[in-house]
Amino acid sequence: MTLPLIYPLGLAFILFALGVVGFLLRKNAIVIFMSLELMFNAANLVFITFANQFQNADGHIFVIFVMTTAAAEVAVGLALIVSIFRSRHSIDIDQMNSLKG
């Protein structure tokens, strides 16, 4: 039973594009983080597709590393969001302009 390679790659591409759109369009910092996770997920799907294609488990290992890095990034990012919300009472990224030169 086989699946044309274009199907999973196309799905990964659509998910990545939607992640880009969400990242650029939304103002809520938490939704921006979620769009980032969507893009990580699309990249992982490509890794798994090609690991299956070439029957090589290295892609699976790399997906595990991506997952751990994403978990670390989410922990630090959400801590930053909590910290910013404490001082500004908003997570709208348009409000976070005090570092502007």
Binding site: L11, F13, L18, F33, A51, A57, I61, V74, V82
Partner: protein, 173 residues
């Protein structure tokens, strides 16, 4: 058209619909729940592509741990009902242009390489079983594995330091 392709198309439609719902939803909690649905469908796609270990890691790590953290922060901050104002006026055409650039690039690559007609096998291979992954992780990739543990430790410490409320000047704890 085999049953695998039909299942894949169904999963793809659900995943894309969940992603669109995540972007368009005004309530952040709904966004998080849509993203969980997306992660679950992608996990089933992993299962279809012969990656059972990654599939369940996806469910437990992404749909479980990471999204629970998101929901926890959303509810801790009480920002689920905050409606974000529309983007600045000049930004929306820019978003459309940039997103269209990504879409056109990706579609170009996919269409030009379509002639390759490569197929992915839908049979679960022994390449993906947990024993193989564990062996690789502790032999060929042992150094990156240890580096990952340090990254996680630093992230945990950083999260605690960043989220901790500021101590008062006089209070020494």
């Amino acid at each position: 058209m085999t049953i695998g392709i039909l299942v894949f198309i169904f999963l793809g439609i659900v995943a894309v619909a969940a992603a669109v719902g995540m972007i368009l939803s005004r309530n952040t909690v709904y966004s998080a729940l849509f993203l969980i649905l997306n992660f679950l469908t992608v996990a089933v796609v992993y299962l279809l592509l012969g990656a059972p270990f990654i599939s369940f890691a996806q469910i437990s790590v992404y749909a479980g741990a990471i999204m629970i953290l998101f929901l926890f922060v959303i509810m801790l901050l009480g920002t689920d009902k905050i409606t974000t104002p529309d983007p600045v006026r000049w930004q929306r055409p820019l978003v459309i242009i940039l997103a269209a650039a990504v879409v056109i690039e990706g579609a170009y690559v996919l269409i030009t390489r379509y002639g390759a007609q490569a197929t992915a096998s839908l049979t679960a291979a022994e390449v993906a079983d947990p024993a193989t992954i564990g062996t690789l992780l502790y032999t060929k990739f042992s150094l990156p594995f240890e580096v990952t543990s340090i990254i996680l430790l630093v992230a945990a410490i950083g999260a605690v330091v960043l989220a901790r409320p500021k101590l008062k000047e006089g209070g020494n704890q």
